[in-house]
Symmetry: none
Subunit: 222 residues, 2 copies
DNA sequence: CACGGACGTCAGAGTAGCGTCAAGACATGA
DNA sequence: TCATGTCTTGACGCTACTCTGACGTCCGTG
């Protein structure tokens, strides 16, 4: 979930942005002036800052400098001033984009997506799952402790890890990995579950995380 | 030195941009249409692309897609069309910024600086990579110990080094280096991995840094 | 308590995919 | 034009992954 900090002193703009961003599954925090913005950013670590330049307490460029002192979080500037000098100053202070008020909300959202794209990709890579002693990174296909898996083992493990705590039927596993013609080959599953447990469970004979549900399927318990 | 590829079909705009950018110590290449742009980008590897959307041969968004298929180079769109839909499409296709013509040159330069700021920082990190006995400088394309690589070898090595520790799929390598029509040619990869190991690994038969992930791809271990 | 069904485990056959060598096709610059 | 280096293509042995069969074990049920 992408976290966006909105900084503006006009309550109606704060409100409009919050409604639009929350509706699009962003997590939102608000700040009405520069010092509140710096405080909030330090505590909450947003993934993006929407910053109005016309704040009551601090100059907008100073807020950018205040943020850039310790974080590289993307900053999109909103401003009523359309002057070129303002834009240039803000961008050179470290802002990533500059949108002039009044702005179209769809355009702003597209710019938000563009700016967060790179960061989002990096964050997704960090999505790591813990399984017992091991840390598993599904996108990079890495497991701590030098454990290596074969393609089929990865495939099965991925399906289980994407459904934490939930029962995954033999049917689902067999269709996803081998196709619908292999629904009867439960032997395959038994075979590969042995391998996975041997590589990942502390005591493969008494699994704690990769659980058999008799006659139904398997379950990953975090 | 930052390399900028300017894509526009109007000669006077090309000329104006070139003069301004060269004066500010950028290295500049020009392209008058979409296919020339894609060709130039593939050969010259610019650090930033300034792209006009109204090209004679290809739709601007297709050019963005064509670039994004194999590179993450920052793209700044220049456009006479101020419509929001155009902006949104271009930004979502993978553009990093959008500037409407007529634009102020100083503003454009500020946006160029903003967009390249992050990439420059990332590149600095990659400036020198250690692989076993060898120090590899990706920007200058040099390797300690008098090792020399062919263009294709560099291309593959770069992709792997840009993803340290991460699995890089055969698919990704083949598309980035040869294009989407070569997805089946895993033989190429095997061939070049042999070469790279012979040139870089201490014991090419038992690689420590350029690792094969059977059935999946390759991985660079620092 | 005995039986049957489903699961766990082991070991070996078959095979896809990898590493390697080598030679022909192509591009580049002298 | 030739010479050199690079890319592409073919052939082949070998590794390790997948598949298969045999057997042992566990658990619920009658």
């Amino acid at each position: 979930m992408t976290r966006i900090l909105i900084v503006d002193d006009e309550p109606q703009i704060l409100r409009a942005l919050r409604i639009n961003l929350v509706a699009r599954q962003y997590e939102v925090a608000l700040a009405a002036d520069g010092s509140a913005a710096l405080r909030e950013a330090a505590q909450w670590h947003p993934d993006l800052v929407l910053l109005d330049l016309g704040l009551p307490d601090l100059d907008g460029v100073d807020v950018i400098h205040g943020l850039r002192g310790w974080t590289t979080v993307p900053i999109v500037v909103l401003s009523g001033r359309a002057g070129n000098q303002d834009k240039i100053e803000a961008l050179d202070a470290g802002a990533d984009d500059y949108v002039t008020k009044p702005f179209n909300i769809e355009e702003l959202l597209a710019r938000v997506r563009a700016v967060t794209r790179r960061t989002r990709a990096q964050e997704a890579e960090l999505a790591a799952v813990q399984l017992g002693d091991h840390t598993i990174d599904l996108t990079n296909k890495t497991i701590s402790g030098g454990v290596r898996l074969t393609p089929t083992e990865w495939h099965i493990l991925e399906i289980l890890l994407r459904n934490p705590g939930r029962l995954v039927s033999q049917r689902q596993l067999l269709t996803e990995v081998w196709g619908t013609k292999y629904l009867k080959e439960t032997h395959y599953l038994r075979q590969y579950m042995v391998q996975l447990r041997r590589k990942l469970e502390r005591d493969p004979a008494h699994p704690v995380h990769l659980i058999t549900e008799l006659g139904m399927g398997y379950r990953y318990l975090p």
